[in-house]
């Protein structure tokens, strides 16, 4: 589809629009650029204007501060990785399992159960915070990683997304497998899961990014500093170093760079997954 044929048909017009859009795109990522730049500056240079994007005397001292000492981000990283990876693997597998049930098996009460799932999507997390807090306290998993890992194993969005994908797999495939005597388990593991690899990858990446960025649950369910995840560790660092702007930005970089890496590697999957689940019927 070409809209402004007059403007983008010629190479010059195309170049012009590209340059304008690139300039705006750079404005979009300015917060990231400023963060990295500031994390390498000296305190005196932080708020110098005009902004010195490439520091004249780059220093790694602030990154060093973030990664060493008793409150090193190393601990937060390990905690975050542990929670995010277990959550991601569990959520992806359990969602696939449930999605297969909802999409490919006709059993009694399926639609009613699916309605429960649907309705739970409307319930804001704030409704659940207090009861979960009381329940976790009672089960003595409050202030442990289990308080994040266990609920993290279940994602309603994931079930929806994969169900959608499984519905799109032609029914003839499983019917012929049935005639060959294969049951649902075999069809699921041998046929459907391999076909769903891209969808599984998408869900895994999106789920990982949610778990990694999850600040609200960690805020409610963790108090022990040793257990902090990256977002909480970051908040802690900022509360304790209120004037160390370079250090803050070094800490923020530590929190964001893994996500940038995940994004660069998984961009294709993320974009495909989000668009498929939102637009395609």
């Amino acid at each position: 589809m070409e809209l402004k044929r007059s403007l983008t048909s010629g190479a010059a017009g195309r170049l012009l629009v590209t340059v304008i859009m690139l300039a705006l795109a750079i404005v979009m990522i300015v917060p990231f650029l400023w963060m990295i730049s500031t994390s390498l500056k000296t305190p005196a240079e932080v708020f110098k204007y005009p902004i010195e994007w490439i520091p004249s005397h780059p220093t790694w001292a602030h990154h060093h501060k973030v990664w060493t000492g008793p409150k090193s981000f190393g601990t937060y990283y390990l905690n975050s990785l542990k929670i995010s990876i277990i959550g991601m693997l569990g959520a992806t597998f359990l969602s696939a399992f449930a999605a297969y049930g909802f999409a490919r098996i006709e059993f009694k009460g399926r639609n009613a159960l699916f309605m429960i799932y649907l309705s739970m999507m409307m319930v804001p997390p704030q409704v659940l915070f207090v009861p979960k807090f009381i329940m976790f306290e009672w089960a003595s998993i409050y202030n442990t990683h289990l308080a994040l890992i266990l609920p993290g194993l279940f994602t309603i969005f994931g079930v929806f997304m994969l169900r959608q994908f499984f519905l799109s797999i032609p029914h003839e495939i499983s019917e012929s497998a049935f005639l060959d005597g294969a049951g649902h388990f075999r069809i699921f593991f041998r046929l459907v899961l391999p076909l769903a690899k891209p969808a599984l990858a998408t869900l895994a990446i999106i789920d990982f990014s949610w778990q990694w960025n999850d600040y609200e649950n960690a805020l409610v369910f963790l108090i022990d500093e040793k257990l902090y995840t990256v977002p909480l560790g970051l908040q802690n660092f900022i509360l304790e170093n209120t004037v160390d702007y370079n250090g803050m930005m070094a800490a923020a970089s530590a929190g964001i760079l893994p996500m940038i890496a995940v994004f660069v590697i998984g961009q294709r999957f993320i974009i495909q997954g989000l668009t498929n689940s939102a637009v395609k019927g």
């Binding site: 589809m1 402004k4 403007l7 983008t8 629009v17 590209t18 859009m21 690139l22 705006l24 795109a25 979009m28 990522i29 990231f32 400023w34 932080v46 708020f47 204007y49 005009p50 297969y100 909802f102 059993f107 159960l113 739970m120 999507m121 409307m122 804001p124 997390p125 704030q126 409704v127 659940l128 915070f129 207090v130 807090f133 194993l153 279940f154 994602t155 309603i156 969005f157 049935f178 649902h184 990694w212 960025n213 600040y215 609200e216 409610v220 977002p231 900022i238 800490a251 923020a252 929190g255 964001i256 996500m259 995940v262 994004f263 961009q267 993320i270 668009t275 689940s277 939102a278 637009v279």
Partner: protein, 308 residues
């Protein structure tokens, strides 16, 4: 024989959804019911006597000035959604033209959405720094002698949060629009061009109406997702200055975990639910209407994208 086997196979449905259903039961359904019950109690953390107080919490909420203030702030927060949808649409239309570096540009605009978390909120906190921050530095350099105080004044803080939120959501809206634009038939556009329609006419009279189901979807999911968020606000302003950024979701958090008024917090959280329910009802009504308007396009399935 075969029928028996098929019946047993069908029962496997329960096995497949069982584990997930258990999680939904324990971490969603039971807490939701529990929370509904808490609404009618005076439960406070660490306090031994829990009493049934009827509708007291609801009455209290309806007389709570801070509740209304946070409701108002929530509405201002939600303004970011239509703004980011509009901008996302514009960017998508342009990126859908024949231009260079399409993939790179798409990635750059989308980056805030995927990388964002509290980390980036802290970056914005410094960017918005009123006295020395780079944004006000820039504004002064272009001749604005008294730039806004952004997060630091009660009148501007909520709008500063809106800017962060627009920045965050824009790329997502753009991505969804880009997909929707792929489905706009090129023959239709060709025909319009042959009939002498100007680009702006094509945009307004053909493309915009054709992507209206997408716009509607983005609006609903965006509103619901936004209303549930409080992380960026808790991280940057904690609701201040002077409660000027206390939105409903944050007010629930504060009541529960700062003042330990668990019963009251539950009550406000159900007000939040009521708003989401209202938006969802609008969605159903709108979808019905849209479905009959655009019978070819109306069948898309929709749901909220942020995890529940």
């Amino acid at each position: 024989m075969y029928n028996n086997w098929m019946r047993r196979q069908r029962l496997l449905g329960y096995v497949f959804i069982g584990p997930s259903m258990l999680g939904v039961l324990v971490f969603f359904l039971i807490p939701a019911v529990y929370s509904f019950g808490l609404m009618f109690t005076n439960y406070k953390f660490m306090s031994p006597n829990v009493e049934f107080v009827g509708a007291d919490n609801i009455v209290r909420m309806l007389h709570d000035d801070l509740f209304y203030l946070s409701l108002r702030n929530t509405v201002i927060f939600l303004l970011a959604v239509p703004v980011s949808i509009g901008l996302g649409f514009v960017v998508a239309v342009i990126l859908n033209q024949k231009i260079y570096l399409k993939k790179l540009l798409r990635g750059l605009y989308f980056m805030p959405y995927i990388t964002s978390g509290v980390a980036v909120a802290f970056v914005w906190m410094l960017l918005f720094q009123p006295k020395q921050g780079p944004i006000n530095g820039f504004l002064r350099s272009v001749g604005i002698a008294h730039p806004p105080g952004w997060l630091s004044t009660t009148t501007s803080s909520m709008y500063a949060i809106d800017i962060i939120w627009v920045w965050f959501l824009l790329g997502y809206n753009m991505i969804i629009y880009l997909a929707a634009l792929q489905e706009v038939s090129s023959e239709l556009l060709e025909a319009a061009k042959i009939d002498g329609a100007r680009p702006t006419q094509i945009l307004r009279k053909i493309i915009w109406p054709l992507v209206s189901p997408t716009t509607f979807l983005l609006l609903i999911t965006g509103l619901i997702m936004t209303i549930k968020t409080f992380g960026i606000i808790q991280a940057t302003t904690q609701g201040g200055p002077g409660n000027s950024t206390t939105i409903l979701s944050l007010y629930v958090y504060q009541n529960a975990f700062r003042y330990y008024e668990m019963g009251y917090a539950a009550t406000i959280s159900w007000a939040l639910f009521a708003i989401i329910l209202l938006i969802t009802l609008l969605q159903w009504l709108g979808q019905k209407k849209m479905g009959s308007l655009l019978s070819g396009q109306g069948g898309h399935r929709r749901w909220s994208l942020k995890e529940v």
